[in-house]
Subunit: 133 residues, 3 copies
C-alpha cells in the first residue's frame, strides 16, 4: 500500500447515493501512482459503495427504489430494535468495497461508470477509506 486517504461524506437524507468519483480521482492523481488498484472501503454497517451510471441521475433513483421494494423499511419480523434492519440488509447486498484499476495515473472506469457512496440510514457524517495498492 502506498497511499491512503479518508473521505468524509455528509449525507442529508435517510437514503441517498453520493457520487464520490471526483474525490477518488483527485486522490489518485495527487498520489502520483501510475498503475495499481484503488480500494474504497466503507467502515459502516448501514451504508455501502457501488459502481453504476452517473450520467442520468434517474438510474440511481431506480436502484434506490428497487432496493426499497426488495427490502421494506418496516417489517414486523425484524428483530433488531433500532429500526434500521433494512439499512443493514441493503449494505450487505451492495457490499462494503469497490475496486478500480489504476492505469496511466488515472481511474480506469468505463465511460458510464461512477462510484457512489450508498447511504441507507442517514442523515449522518460518514467516512470512506481510500487505499492505493
Amino acid at each position: 500500500m502506498t497511499e491512503t486517504r479518508v473521505l468524509t461524506v455528509r449525507t442529508e437524507k435517510r437514503e441517498q447515493f453520493v457520487d464520490i468519483s471526483a474525490a477518488i480521482s483527485e486522490f489518485v492523481r495527487s498520489s502520483g501512482v501510475r498503475k495499481g488498484l484503488l480500494v474504497a472501503f466503507v467502515p459502516h454497517t448501514t451504508a455501502a459503495v457501488t459502481i453504476n451510471e452517473g450520467a442520468d441521475p434517474s438510474v440511481m433513483k431506480d436502484i434506490g427504489a428497487a432496493l426499497g421494494t426488495l427490502v421494506p423499511r418496516d417489517d414486523p419480523r425484524y428483530k433488531h430494535a433500532e429500526g434500521n434492519s433494512d439499512a443493514h440488509i441493503k449494505a450487505s447486498l451492495l457490499g462494503s468495497t469497490v475496486h478500480i484499476p489504476i492505469v496511466d495515473g488515472g481511474l480506469m472506469l468505463g465511460r458510464w461508470q461512477s462510484v457512489f457512496f450508498a447511504e441507507f440510514d442517514g442523515p449522518r457524517q460518514r467516512r470512506v477509506n481510500l487505499f492505493l495498492y
Copy 2:
C-alpha cells in the same frame, strides 16, 4: 500490477451468463505469475461478474430467473427512460469485480467454482479488464 489484458465478450441474448474461467486461466498461466491476486473488472453499468457453479448449467439459469423475479424488466415506477433499469439494478446487486487468488501459477478456484460474465442488457460486445497484482 504486473500484467493486464482485455477480454472481449460477445453476448447473444438480452440476459446471459458467459463462462470466462478458461480465458482468465489462460491469461494467468501466460503471465508466468506464480502468486498474487487476479482482479476481473467489468467497465459497464448494465453487466456484472460473479463466481458460481459451472458444472451444472441449470444453476446459472436459476440465478438468472431469480434475479428476473426480484427485479422485473418492466415497472411503471422506473424513471430511467432507456428501458434497462432492471439491468442497472442487477449490475449493482452482483457487482463489477471478482477477485481470485493466484497460487502456484494458477487460479485458486474451488472445485465447483467458475467465473461468469453477467450480461443484463445484450446482445452487445462487452469487455472484461483483467489485472494481476
Copy 3:
C-alpha cells in the same frame, strides 16, 4: 502476496452466519504485516462472506430472514436438481470475497463491523482462504 492461511469453518445448520473476525485478526497479527490488504475468499458456491454488524446478533438474523424472503428455498421453477438453488443465488448476491485494509498491523474494520462466513447449504465443513497482499 506475503502470507496465506486456510480457515476451517464447521457449520451446524442449513443457514448460519459465523463470525470469523477474531480468526482473521489473529492471522493478520501473527503475520507481522503492518500494512496491506486482507482478502478472504470463499471457495464454495453455496456459501459467501459479508461484513456487517456483530454487536447485536439480531442484525444477522434479520439479514438471513430477509434473504430467505427474497429467495425462497422451494420454487417449482428451479431447474437445478439438488434442492439448493436458493443457496447458489444467495451466494452470488453476497459474493465470494471481502477485502479489509490492514493498517498499523491490524484490520481496519469500523467500530460495528464484523466479518461473517455465510452458510446457505449446511451443515458442512467449509473453508475460507485468507491472503495478505
